[in-house]
């Protein structure tokens, strides 16, 4: 059965099915997955021998070697394990802009990555920044969970009031495990995004920050005397649109994006700027592949 949804089209699914999530760090999965781990464990793939020590499982002793060499060796096998994949979506009011809205874009991106994870039997969890601190979201595993995952995504509505830093902090408290975390946000928080990213860094997670910006933010098409109202805190800015003002705005935007990129790069996080006009499949198959999130 090919699942169809607004978030994931059959073509996109077909494209995603060939991909898998990659982590630059080694994590210990709780359950056996399809992922080869550096940990030795039970699997069919032989890895190495080691000397038997007291207490080792007798089932793994290589009796053939014992017969030949009269020494007890233990056969080691590569363990295949699962990966934790977290998608953290910023569903604040500011994400509800653009065409498609940044939130819709973020959802589609999260769905794509989550699907890759589900297909590879990774553990997938999708949460939003504004989620209450104690309310942990469901975790899915396996292709069967696709519908549940999509349904969960569909129910994410814009307008969550929590500041980014607090939301990320809550996320970190809820999810102690290691793994890949992808933060999808516009980073437009008056209090700054730095604290939020520091929390993620502290969890020793493989962090990807995908900043989603709409076309209206990159190339504002405004003219005349305007009273700009911030959709999140009702803050007002009165502007008279002028060429110098627009120029200055673009300079500021570029500086903001560059600041975020540098902040992330210095701290070992991957930063990716996504414009809502760029189709998700291209973003995943080109940009994210280049950055090593998928392969």
């Amino acid at each position: 059965m090919t699942p169809t949804s607004e978030l994931l089209s059959p073509e996109l699914l077909a494209q995603l099915e060939r991909l898998e999530l990659v982590s630059r760090k080694i994590f210990r999965g709780r359950m056996k997955g399809e992922r080869r781990s550096k940990r030795k464990g039970q699997s069919v793939e032989f890895a190495d021998f080691r000397n038997y020590v007291h207490g080792d499982d007798l089932r793994f002793i290589d009796w053939n070697s014992y017969a030949r060499l009269d020494k007890l060796f233990l056969k080691l096998f590569l363990e295949e394990e699962d990966l934790h994949f977290y998608a953290l979506i910023d569903a604040s009011a500011s994400m509800d802009f653009g065409d498609p809205t940044k939130l819709a874009y973020a959802k589609q991106l999260a769905a794509s990555l989550a699907f890759i994870g589900l297909v590879r039997s990774d553990r997938v969890k999708i949460e939003t920044v504004g989620q209450p601190a104690r309310q942990s979201g469901p975790m899915w595993r396996g292709r069967r969970s696709l519908w549940q995952m999509l349904d969960h995504l569909e129910h994410i509505a814009p307008g969550e009031p929590a500041p980014l830093a607090e939301g990320v902090k809550n996320f970190c408290l809820r999810n102690s495990g290691k793994g890949i975390v992808v933060l999808i946000s516009d980073l437009m928080d008056k209090h700054g995004y730095q604290d939020a990213l520091r929390y993620l860094m502290a969890r020793q997670m493989d962090v990807y920050v995908i900043q989603v910006l709409s076309q209206e933010e990159i190339e504002p098409d405004v003219k005349g005397d305007l009273r700009l109202i911030d959709c999140e805190d009702e803050d007002m800015a009165e502007i008279t649109v002028s060429a110098p003002l627009l120029k200055r705005y673009k300079q500021n935007l570029a500086a903001f994006v560059e600041g975020a990129r540098e902040f992330c790069n210095r701290r070992g996080m991957s930063y990716i700027l996504a414009k809502n006009q760029l189709p998700v499949d291209q973003l995943v198959s080109n940009y994210l592949r280049q950055r090593g999130l998928v392969r």
């Binding site: 109202i229 502007i239 500021n252 935007l253």
Partner: protein
């Protein structure tokens, strides 16, 4: 009711108007409440602007970056503030301009006096002079246009153009647009100028009472005479107008043209056959210098477009110089004389004369039996070259053959020696000792031995005819009808005269050549003198049409031409120098009367495929050629002093101001939308 405030404004306005050279006068004086209303507009704009211009609310994801940008820009806040108010200034400027437009701003605030105007626009040849750019006529039209713009509601104006005649372009109208349209339609002509007709037309239309008969009790005045202002836009180059009174008209003569305008003109151009050799052609021209400086021009003579001679002529200021060319044997063709003068008037820098195929004249001599001198004089070789002479006695006059020929234009000239026909022939005539029919000619009782005191040698008939030694035994003093010219004058009265008759000319000799009934048997000793055959030759050449076929003479623009031709065709085709050829039907006097001769140049005449010849129309009018405008006009006993300066005209500025306002509006719109700053 006018309030005190309104009066104050008006007084202030008047002071301003008097003080300034470039006057900005308001015609529509506003009431106080209107002033107040107008004054409130800018105040309201400022208030509205500062009471907060309505900013359009727009929800954005985050004002974070915008705030930052605004703060960055605030660094140079003075410029920012100025820039922010730029729209306000522009709006105020716009409102100011619109308000000014409503006040109907003008330059030079003298009003047209009166409410009835007659504009006489000279479109004669001299108005084509280019001393005023582009031409005098255009300048005149421009000035009339300015005055038409000047008219207020209720004003009426009439437009008359005049050259040698007058044309009412537009009778009294208060429609400026119609007047402008008609004004633009006035065309330059090559004609000479006569103001008299234009004045009569204007006066007749302006003062209707004058055209009706006051003596007649039954005559009803169709309209009351009303005073009108008569503007004459002209260079004043026309003869003094006699017997005219302006009456209710108040004349204003606006001089069009520069006083220092210079012009070199061909004042005359004609050809003649050599006296000794008829094939030998001579061309004479007179060049006038109507200017203040000595000029030197090249006068080129060309035959049918090919240059055959050129001369360098120097003419003193105000002087005229004759030029003579000897093109030798020229049978037919068009001679063109052109000068390369770079002067104000171009139309008189070229002149044409046409040499048509010589046509043999047809001469009938109706003689008495005793005459032999005339017959002998008509028998010379020269006469035989020029004409076919038929000699008959007086009884021929009663024969049907004569009647047919005479009525059908079969003769060019008929010489009646002491006899006269029952009906005047369709030909030129020379009567000897007899008066023509009709009673127009009068004669006194016979006088003995009249002494010749004057001979009009200028007339072709008396050309080089020496009468000094001629004695007349007996003569009848003649009184030619109006239009007649005395050619030989004696102390008793005219002995030889010529007068026109319906396209022909009748010459009458008051004495007889032969007089057997007289005391001495002869009437005069003239036949024994050398001048007699010359005289007869002149008669053949002039009245017999031999000369006219050589040179059609000078025709002024607009003058009718009576074209004579042997052609049996009922219609001839005339191709004017400009425009399409037209047909002319045979007239009642066996001539073709060409009336459309408005343009100077050569007119070709054809009958179907057969070329009949051509005639030339030349300006040859020293009044028109002298382009220095007259400073005053003589009309009756009245002298109208001209003014060169522009008739004070109130020129409306509101259109320009409104355009400026629109431009400001555009700039404001552009700045508002595009936000582009200097």
């Amino acid at each position: 009711m006018r309030s005190a405030l309104g009066n104050i404004f008006e007084t202030a306005g008047n002071y301003g108007a008097k003080a300034s050279g470039l006057l900005f006068e308001r015609t529509g004086m506003l009431m106080a409440w209107q002033w107040l209303l107008l004054g409130l507009v800018p105040i309201l704009i400022v208030l509205l602007y500062f009471l907060k211009l309505k900013r359009q609310p727009l929800e954005v994801p985050s004002t974070y970056l915008w705030h930052k940008s605004i703060e960055d820009l605030r660094v140079n806040s003075v410029w920012q503030r100025l820039r922010r108010s730029l729209l306000l200034y522009l709006q105020l400027l716009f409102i100011g301009l619109v308000a000014w437009t409503l006040l109907r701003p003008t330059i030079q605030g003298k009003r047209l006096i009166g409410n009835r105007f007659i504009f006489l626009v000279d479109n004669s040849a001299s108005m084509g002079a280019t001393d005023v750019e582009p031409t005098r006529l255009d300048e005149a039209k421009k000035r009339v246009g300015e005055l038409i713009d000047e008219m207020r509601t209720g004003d009426v104006a009439m437009l008359v153009s005049f050259s040698d005649g007058a044309k009412v372009e537009q009778s009294f109208s208060e429609e400026p647009r119609e007047l402008h349209r008609r004004l633009e339609a006035i065309q330059q002509t090559d004609r000479s100028t006569s103001l008299a007709e234009a004045l009569r037309v204007a006066s007749g239309l302006a003062n209707p009472g004058r055209s009706s008969n006051r003596e007649d009790a039954g005559d009803v005045q169709v309209a009351e005479a009303e005073p009108a202002r008569l503007y004459i836009f002209s260079d004043g180059k026309f003869p003094k107008v006699k017997d005219f009174s302006f009456g209710h008209l108040e004349p204003v003569y606006v001089i069009i043209g520069e006083q220092d305008a210079a012009n070199v003109a061909i004042a005359a151009f004609t050809t003649a056959r050599g006296e000794d050799n008829l094939d030998h052609l001579q061309a004479f021209a007179r060049l006038d210098n109507h200017g203040g400086e000595k000029v030197s021009v090249n006068a080129e003579l060309s035959l049918d477009g090919e240059l055959i001679d050129a001369k360098r002529i120097e003419i003193e200021p105000g002087d005229s110089t004759g030029v003579e060319y000897n093109p030798e044997s020229v049978e037919t063709g068009v001679l063109k004389l052109s000068i390369d003068a770079n002067d104000a008037l171009a139309i008189d820098n070229a002149a044409w004369t046409t040499i048509n195929a010589r046509r043999r004249g047809k001469v009938l001599l109706v003689k008495q039996d005793d005459d032999e001198y005339l017959e002998r004089a008509l028998g010379t070789d020269r006469v035989r070259e020029l004409a076919d002479v038929t000699i008959r006695t007086a009884d021929f006059l009663s024969k049907p053959d004569y009647r047919k020929q005479a009525d059908g234009g079969g003769y060019d000239v008929v010489i009646y020696d002491r006899c006269r026909p029952e009906q005047m022939p369709q030909a030129n005539t020379l009567f000897i000792g007899q008066l023509p029919l009709g009673g127009d000619w009068k004669a006194d009782a016979k006088v003995d031995v009249p002494q010749i005191i004057d001979v009009d040698h200028a007339h072709p008939l008396m050309h080089i005819v020496a009468m000094g030694d001629v004695l007349i035994v007996e003569g009848t003093p003649l009184f030619p009808p109006s239009g007649g010219t005395t050619l030989i004058d004696t102390q008793a009265g005219a002995m030889f005269a010529i007068a026109p008759r319906e396209g022909y000319e009748d010459a009458v000799l008051g004495f007889t050549i032969v007089d057997p009934a007289g005391k001495v048997g002869v009437g005069t000793n003239w036949p024994t003198k050398a001048s007699f055959p010359v005289f007869v030759l002149n008669v053949i050449e002039y009245l017999g049409g031999a000369r006219s076929s050589l040179d059609s003479g000078s025709v002024r623009p607009g003058q009718p031409v009576a074209w004579r031709s042997d052609t049996p065709a009922e219609r001839i085709q005339v191709k004017p120098p400009q425009g399409a050829p037209f047909d002319v039907a045979r007239g009642p006097l066996n001539t073709f009367n060409v009336t459309s001769t408005a343009d100077v140049g050569v007119y070709e005449v054809r009958a179907g495929e057969q070329g009949l010849g051509s005639f030339a129309v030349n300006l040859f009018d020293s009044n028109e050629s002298d382009v220095r405008p007259a400073l005053e006009l003589g009309v009756g006993d009245y002298k109208v002093v001209g003014s060169t300066h522009r008739e004070p005209a109130r020129r409306d500025l509101w259109k320009i101001v409104l355009l400026a306002a629109l431009a400001v509006l555009l700039v404001e719109w552009y700045i508002y939308n595009r936000r582009v700053y200097v």
